[in-house]
Symmetry: C2
Subunit: 338 residues, 2 copies
DNA sequence: GTGAAAGCGCTAACAG
DNA sequence: CTGTTAGCGCTTTCAC
């Protein structure tokens, strides 16, 4: 290891027992100020760093939590992670971040690894394969944007009000005069996307539309390129006949924008566009994109709050915590089509 | 812990000693196929997950490396992290990601924490305070975009060819006819920024300019807002008299773009603009921004390659590895000012 | 091919 | 106030 100097070396140098050193390190009392000072000086001088691994082994608790995200290069996820970490650090927890790359196999491997690393709990952002539940069986887990299928022992969900988000985005498109709205979303079986779909349908029906007016395209990936390619395919195939698109994530919206404008279709004149998440790029895009703002700070705080509760085995009064969202109207839904 | 079932439980259930189970888990040989199967079945059935923490304690090696980044919400850094992790996993290493938020105090705390968590080596992206060298004294470390001041025992640097990058960006502005080029950069004492400055000066001098033509503004933060506010301040104060800006990171360039266009200054007609990193937003920005592309895949591979070398205590033939960059010309430097 | 036992660095009774 | 000791889960000699 980096530093072969251990508590034992400190104790012998200080002429005290390792127990005393341990007490001092952990501020557990039962030592004189005098010895404390002497020991601390020696610790400083030697740059001694306590070995948390050994401590964890002994105390059976590691105070570090694993965070699983689908894509570490996505600003939205990382803003969420940032908030979660901030709150967790305050409580003395470390975090392990792991990237699944939207790949189930990687996810399995990485979560397995986390279990071996003895994380004391897990936070799942927009993911979570069901057959992982054997391994993480007893790990307190908070899911974001996902309600697990089977009931786990010790879990809960924190999510944006996705139904409301889907509703607001769709209503904005309808208010701009759209008659034919495409929903572009993920194939992933995640409650977040299902809820946005539900909101979309709700707005449509409320506007007097019917089942025929529901148009959905499912994508395997959430990357910009996935949306771009699908749009291009539809355009080529003459399958594109919409005057509005609601993409359930901003990167998908950006992909649509690129494909459409490259083919001479103007936004917002010909097609209106709305995204979801409110990442920076939507504000700076050639035509700024209307989107749904998710309050990551609020979500991060709720996630940690809930996690601490279920780790303490407190009863959680609600298994699903919802955080409000709001619409951020921009150029891409300006004016009316009429 | 999540799983109180240990190697001991497995061994007693299988009716063998824990030594045998250990050998089987680690495929160390010296056991019959028969017992192997029996033990493996029991492991499966119980969802037994070996405790890497205990293993690490015993073997004195953890196979996990800490990665320190200034800002986890910055796409460029995370693309680099993505590549590094990819290569590291292949070699059987785990990673700890830690965010310093461009704050020295946080950095100190977080790196100290990593040392306590027994990481076996460190990767520093665009950062690294000097007084950390006590703690990380013997940790093999790879720095990205930074050459440490004091010689550490066991380190090396991987970086883009930042001089060349600074040169290319500045030359592009000069080629567009700029006579008065502002360099907007970070105050951070990091070789990466110093080198980009050097490239900027080199291009200026090569074009027949003099010391008087060097104009530099230093920023404390790399955030978009820092550049925006500084630009606004200069504009208000009437200090802005440039026809070209080279921002040493893309987010700074985006901040300039926003401030300038808000004040009615047109890009590229009135002012040309170049950034650095080639993050997505430069391609999608209202006026797409010319930038320097850093080859993150190549860099990630080099970083891991070097890290493995210094961890093996191999002699590293070069302490500084440079990866080429190239210019990505876009709208923001189109046409000439003349 | 298998088991017994020591010990990694640390904490937590317990005894003084 | 301080020291002794057992043991966390695992690997690894050394016997058999």
């Amino acid at each position: 290891m980096k530093n072969s100097i251990s508590i034992k070396d400190i104790s012998s140098q200080a002429g005290v027992s390792i127990a005393t050193v341990s007490r001092i390190i952990n501020k557990n009392g039962r030592y004189s100020q005098e010895t404390e000072k002497r020991v601390m000086d020696i610790i400083k001088k030697n740059n001694y760093v306590p070995n948390l691994v050994a401590k964890g082994l002994r105390t059976q608790k590691m105070k570090n939590v694993g965070i699983v995200v689908p894509d570490i290069t996505n600003e939205f996820f990382m803003k969420l992670v940032y908030e979660i970490e901030k709150n967790l650090f305050q409580e003395g927890y470390e975090t392990f971040l792991c990237n699944t790359d939207e790949d189930e196999d990687k996810e399995r491997k990485r979560v397995h690894m986390m279990a071996m690393q003895n994380v004391c709990s897990l936070i799942y952002i927009a993911g979570g394969i069901s057959d992982m539940q054997d391994v993480i069986r007893d790990l307190p887990t908070v899911f974001i944007d996902r309600v697990p299928d089977k009931a786990l022992g010790n879990y809960c969900t924190v999510e944006s009000d996705n139904v409301q988000g889907g509703y607001l985005a769709t209503k904005e498109l309808l208010d701009c005069g759209c008659k034919n709205i495409l929903l572009l979303t993920s194939r992933k079986k995640i409650s977040g996307y299902a809820d946005r779909f539900e909101g979309y349908v709700k707005a449509l029906l409320e506007a007097g539309m019917e089942a025929d007016d529901i148009h959905v395209v499912y994508l395997d990936q959430l990357h910009y390129a996935a949306a771009y390619e699908e749009m291009m395919r539809m355009l080529e195939a003459g399958e594109f006949a919409y005057d509005g698109i609601f993409a359930t994530s901003d990167w998908l919206a950006v992909g649509c924008y690129k494909a459409l404008t490259e083919r001479g279709i103007r936004i917002p004149e010909d097609v209106k566009l709305a995204g979801y998440d409110d990442i920076s790029i939507t504000a700076f895009n050639g035509v700024p994109i209307t989107t749904i703002h998710q309050q990551v700070d609020e979500m991060g705080a709720r996630v940690v709050e809930q996690l601490l509760k279920i780790m303490r085995q407190d009863k959680v009064e609600q298994n699903i915590v919802k955080v409000p969202v709001y619409l951020v109207p921009r150029e891409s839904t300006r004016g009316t089509t009429e």
